[in-house]
């Protein structure tokens, strides 16, 4: 039984550039974000390619040391602020949160559009700064190098990030108010999909943390531009004060990046194990716990910076605690899989990859929470591997998994399943080949942010670069076949995966108003009884 596309939906209801640039439809805004962050991902990826090419040989022979400093700085800035932080919330969150709660849109649709414009403006300013001279301070902007010694485009880069911070906050504001005030009839808090809980918790972090980095980067810009010497050591300024203010946001920022991914994974596991998530309440609560505890541990980035031993001890202890709610989620996902009816569709491959790779990244985080270990591996490739396991092995896997899972809902088309499975496998293999050697390199003592290294580290670096090229192929594949599917993919039904959730009870793609009549919820989340469309319909690749 072939699916038929609805006649009028949010994509064809109106045509022309103006209908997109002035839209207030959360679904169209999500697609605007999708296009923008994909471009930024490619730019961040180009910086990564150059880094890995330089590191093929021990000598610094591809680029100068100054250029290399700019490469890793700009790779970090683009990937963190302009790709990872918006990714899942701005694309999948924007598209799905109203649908999942049975609403017609987010609470503040015009602020939603404004958030995209601010994002584009911030990215444009920072990119302009990076392309007309670059920045070499590291994405961490440590003072006093960033405020006085660096001769690169620090101010405009900081201003661009500052602007994009407001974009992030508007998204968070929208989610919090929408989830509190616009749930459809019968949708109590404990019937919400875990994806919504995850975005709620993420939004809390965004609102409480982003303002702090905003003011901090503003102060860096003011000190550089107007001699407002808050961090200047010559005046008695404290470099550690900058680091406290910076990491107060930047540590919770990593939870901004992972929590939405965990929300995606919960949805995928529930659907492809054909079971409600085990321990739903615990998973929901752990999202909030991560959001709260994540603010108590920032000092673990500063163990070797000179903070007091007393504070280091406190931060180390608290950092161990924050692992607990993450572990709770991993255990609950595993328990969901046990005795589940596992389907191996491509989104599920990404979800399973996430669980394995995030666990590795998270466990290595526990190593780093130990003061004694961190002193030795801080600023080495061990750290680089640790955070890439979480952000690439974790977040990007979840992002891709979610993009595949909801692609039929967003576009009304199915993508080629076999290619998708292949791409997932290539990403998984390429990723591990790229980053696992880096754990070893760091443990052996190779420092990060150096463009040259002792010859005995070359073999592992070559492996890492080889892995990166495979990973690149793995990322290019979905870019190609997802675009291909827009025109040539089979038309998708309303619920090709046979999943639970309100978003699957409206046509693919949905109408602008999301639901013909507002749905009324009588069941818990993930209650699969009576869901139309068998999963077999998905296997059309």
């Amino acid at each position: 039984m072939a699916a038929r596309a609805p006649t009028v939906h949010y994509l064809n209801v109106d045509y022309g550039v103006r209908s997109w640039l002035f839209t207030t439809d959360h679904k169209r805004i999500a697609l605007l974000y999708l296009g923008t962050i994909t471009i930024l991902f490619v730019i961040g990826g180009i910086f990564a390619v150059l880094i890995r090419l330089e590191l093929l040989t021990p000598a610094g022979d591809l680029v100068s040391a100054d250029t290399y400093n700019k490469l890793f700085t700009m790779h970090g800035i683009v990937m963190l602020f302009f790709f990872l932080i918006p990714s899942i919330p701005a694309v999948l969150g924007n598209f799905l949160v109203p649908l999942m709660i049975g609403a017609r849109d987010l609470a503040f649709p015009r602020l939603n559009l404004l958030s995209w414009y601010l994002f584009v403006l911030g990215a444009a300013v920072s990119l302009w700064a990076m392309l007309t001279g670059g920045v070499d301070t590291g994405w961490t902007f440590y003072t006093p190098y960033s405020t006085s010694a660096s001769v690169t485009n620090v101010i405009p880069t900081a201003v661009g990030i500052f602007i994009s911070g407001f974009s992030s906050m508007l998204t968070g504001l929208n989610f919090i108010v929408t989830i509190h005030k616009m749930r459809t009839k019968g949708l109590t808090w404990f019937r919400l999909p875990l994806f919504v809980w995850a975005h709620y918790a993420t939004s809390i972090i965004i609102m409480l943390g982003t303002p702090v980095i905003a003011i901090t980067l503003l102060l860096v810009a003011l000190e550089r531009g107007f001699h407002l010497g808050i961090f200047d050591p010559a005046l008695g300024g404290d470099p550690l004060l900058f680091q406290h203010l910076f990491w107060f946001y930047s540590h919770p920022a990593v939870y901004i990046m992972i929590l939405p991914g965990m929300g995606v994974v919960s949805e995928l596991i529930a659907c492809f194990a054909r079971r409600p998530i085990f321990g739903y309440g615990f998973v929901a609560a752990s999202s909030l716990m991560i959001a709260v505890l994540g603010f108590f541990v920032w000092g673990h980035h500063m163990f070797t910076s000179g903070q007091s031993a007393y504070t280091a001890f406190v931060f180390s202890f608290l950092s161990m605690l924050v692992a607990i709610p993450s572990a709770v989620k991993v255990f609950n996902w595993t328990a969901t899989l046990y005795r589940g009816s596992i389907a191996w569709d491509s989104p599920m491959l990404y979800a399973l990859g996430f669980i394995g790779l995030f666990t590795m990244g998270g466990l290595t985080g526990l190593f780093l929470a130990c003061l004694g270990i961190d002193v030795h591996v801080h600023d080495t490739y061990f750290i680089v591997a640790h955070f890439h396991y979480i952000m690439v092995g974790g977040t990007i896997m979840a992002y891709l998994g979610g993009l595949h899972f909801w692609w039929p809902k967003i576009t009304g088309r199915m993508y080629p399943e076999t290619l998708a499975k292949a791409a997932g496998l290539i990403v998984f293999l390429g990723f591990n080949l790229t980053f696992f050697p880096q754990f070893i390199l760091g443990y052996l003592g190779m420092p990060r942010r150096y463009y040259a290294y002792p010859p005995e580290f070359q073999a592992l670096n070559v492996l890492s670069t080889a892995g990166a090229s495979i990973l690149g192929v793995g990322y290019l594949l979905p870019l190609c076949y997802l675009l291909w599917s827009l025109r040539y993919g089979p038309v998708a039904s309303a619920n090709p995966w046979g999943a639970a959730g309100l978003e699957w009870r409206t046509p693919s793609p949905p109408p602008t108003e999301n639901f013909a009549t507002p749905p009324v919820v009588v069941r818990d989340a993930y209650d699969l009884d009576g869901m139309a469309d068998a999963p077999a319909e998905a296997a059309l690749g």
């Binding site: 509190h180 406290h244 107060f248 108590f296 000092g299 007091s308 031993a309 504070t311």
Partner: protein
């Protein structure tokens, strides 16, 4: 609409008078010989003034629980940021 509360003008004027009085008190305390206590007292007065503005001018007294949670959360997070940072600054030379 809903649980709208309209406060009497008298209440606003009373709060206003308290705020002015507390302002005068703060300045007086600053110039008095109270040693280290003067900072603590001035901060306490500031907190009192802020509380009066929040409760009555901003209607927090009659607001829903969620609003008070938002305010409480913001204050708690401010204290966390200032507190832990200060803890580091103050203990650096204690344990080396």
């Amino acid at each position: 609409m809903g649980s709208e509360h309209i406060a009497p003008v008298r209440l606003y004027v009373t709060v206003f008078a308290c705020l002015l009085a507390l302002t005068a008190l703060t300045t007086a305390v600053a110039f008095a010989d109270l040693g280290r206590a003067s900072t603590v007292i001035m901060l306490a007065i500031a907190v009192t003034k802020a509380t009066l503005v929040a409760l009555f001018f901003m209607h927090l007294w009659w607001s829903e629980r969620l609003t008070r949670l938002v305010v409480g959360g913001a204050l708690a997070w401010l204290l966390l940021l200032v507190g832990l940072t200060l803890a580091d600054v103050l203990t650096r030379t204690v344990l080396g």
